[in-house]
Amino acid sequence: MDNIAGTRSSLVWAVHLAVLALVLLWTLPTVGLLVSSFRDRDQIAATGWWAALFPAEERMVVRLAGAGEQRQEGDLWVVEGDLIEEGTLNRFGTSARAPFAHAAGETGELANGGRVKVEADGSYRAEAAQPFGERGPRLFVAVDTAPRFTTANYERVLFAEGIGRAFLNTMTVTIPATIIPILVAAFAAYALAWMEFPGRALLIAAVVGLLVVPLQLALIPLLQLHNAVGIGKDYLGIWLAHSAFGLPLAIYLLRNYMVGLPREIIESARVDGATDFQIFVKIILPLSFPALASFAIFQFLWTWNDLLVATVFLSNTPEQLVMTGVLRELLGSRGGDWEILAASAFVSIAVPIVVFFAMQRYLVRGLLAGSVK
């Protein structure tokens, strides 16, 4: 359409803007969490992530030095010191009723009748007629702190919150659960695509039907079955379950692809003396690589991101809890600790995202093979 004469440029601009809006809408949520995962805990709570590059105003309660540091100047008792380590002090106050009544450089009245002067750099001088108590008086301060970025959140979730262990658990589930169904499905797909036998059409229809059977239906019977045969809640069980649940799509995708391979190539191999097994291994498998790759990505993403099957077929112990499971527990137990949630979420998202961008071509091809008729 670009070449057609007389296309209006205003329309082109509208398209650009519309796409830009869509892209922002679809990426901002993720970007927000990503930025937050690198921010300091206090700053996350102080300002929105979009303000991460600007100083954040943190509000806190501090205490002046107490009786231990006071000295007498004439008839006044005096304490001096520094309230903050970094940043700029904006405002302060002495009572909870008006916590930020004074700007930096002003003087406020203390509850004991004394006065305190606080500077923007946090240094203060308080004077009172009576000696200060053991603990100094409270002061409310609002401090502008410079943007702080840190990897501490990641260190914490990886080593202290169990995400590191869960990462390994997820790997343990995912890799066999991706490879086993590919092998099983590839042979089945070849038989359904290129071998003649009674009942073939029926089997193909059955595979298409099984594509949509809801997993929910399978959970209770299979859990009972696993317990009955002694697998219980363990990795073997979830490998088998994931493999089986992925099979209909695998067989369907691979069969569709293999049917499209030229018949003459397979006949030529047969004339060359290859058996069915040799044809499969030496001709069909190498030629089906794109389809195998796209299913592998699907299955990998699906098993990596799965929560339901893992919750049902694995136990809730640190040895078996996968990342989605940990994430869900964190959402329940530490719903407000965004630095933990954000970092945990990104540890779990990182691998699929990398796989996604690296293998997008195959993913798209697989989607198309499965959907477009």
Binding site: L22, I180, I204, V212, D276, S344
Partner: protein
């Protein structure tokens, strides 16, 4: 480390086991019915009658045990009590019909079924149509497609952060409330607003599925013969008219496929509700209800009954798919 070793070991054993099975089965078949000697012809036809079943056996076993067998056990369980010990007839279904949470789930599921496939397909179609016309369209596509790779739980964390509510007087760090505040509105606890909170949950799934719809519809749009578009240009149609009256009618089939695929996904949606509200504040859906009764209620009978309701809801799509597939193989 132990675990890595074990995982590695199992991968090797599992994969080798599979390969060994196929290899050995073929070898044995060729040994029993050699394609040589006086009875070569009969042997060949016998071997080629058996071989497909060797190739299919593992798949049929896995599918049979993990997908077909559970359907029947579920039917059986749904007619029994919580522990599966006693036959209770249709009592579980009676309970379902009268349960307010079940009704709420059915209502919500229908809402999801109406909104999510429609919205995802619509946004996907718009994104596909627009990105195909600009130079950085592929980059835009990749970014819109990306949520596809994010788990439902991860997406729930992302969106819960957007819906975050701090309370009046405190700086809002949730994007939605911050925007509302900036526009002069009042902040809300979005996920607790009855009825409308369902839509905030749906937004998560729409966000994930739009990329899927876009990729497939974009391929379909590009598959439209260029000549039909050029003919329409010569006929004087505007770009919008071309899109709505020339392009969209030609990809109805693909739109239907996208729609049904997302519909099936919606019926099984569970993680988002579990992670964001756990069905509170009137957001329960069937899949999460089933999960509730299975784990918290420990009632296999009721949980199976709910699961069967989901199965019944997907059945029309299953039949439609099978009919389509048979048409193609013929």
């Amino acid at each position: 480390m132990d675990q890595l070793m074990m995982a590695g070991g199992t991968i090797v054993v599992g994969v080798f086991g599979c390969v060994a099975y196929f290899f050995a089965a073929n070898l044995i078949l060729d040994a029993v019915y050699p394609a040589k000697g006086p009875r070569a012809g009969a042997n060949i036809s016998r071997a080629s009658a058996i071989r497909p079943w060797l190739f299919l056996l593992p798949a049929i076993l896995l599918l049979g045990i993990y997908l077909v067998y559970p359907v029947f056990v579920s039917i059986w369980l749904s007619l029994r009590d919580a522990s599966g010990e006693e036959f209770v007839g249709l009592a579980n279904y009676e309970w379902l019909v009268n349960d307010s949470k079940f009704r709420e789930s059915i209502r919500n599921n229908f809402l999801w079924l109406l909104v999510v496939p429609a919205a995802s397909t619509f946004f996907g179609l718009v994104a596909a149509a627009l990105t195909d016309r600009i130079r950085w369209g592929n980059l835009a596509k990749a970014l819109i497609f990306m949520p596809m790779a994010i788990s439902f739980v991860g997406a729930s964390v992302i969106w819960k952060f957007i819906y975050d509510y701090r309370g009046e007087g405190r700086e809002e760090i949730g994007l939605l409330n911050a925007v509302i505040e900036a526009l002069g509105g009042t902040e809300q606890t979005w996920l607790a607003i009855p009825f409308w909170n369902n839509f905030f949950l749906m937004a998560v799934l729409i966000w994930i599925q739009t990329g899927f719809a876009m990729v497939i519809l974009s391929a379909a749009l590009r598959g439209i013969p260029e000549e039909t578009v050029e003919a329409a240009v010569l006929d004087g149609a505007s770009p919008l008219q071309i899109f709505l009256r020339i392009k969209v009618p030609q990809i109805w089939g693909t739109i239907a496929v996208v729609w049904t695929t997302i519909t099936i996904l919606v019926l099984k949606v569970f993680d988002i509700v579990l992670a964001m509200t756990n069905g509170q504040w009137g957001t329960q859906v069937l899949a999460n209800l089933m999960f509730d009764w299975m784990f918290r209620g420990n009632d296999a009978g009721r949980a199976s009954a709910v699961a069967l309701v989901i199965m019944v809801l997907v059945t029309p799509i299953m039949i439609w798919n099978i009919a389509n597939a048979r048409k193609e193989t013929r």
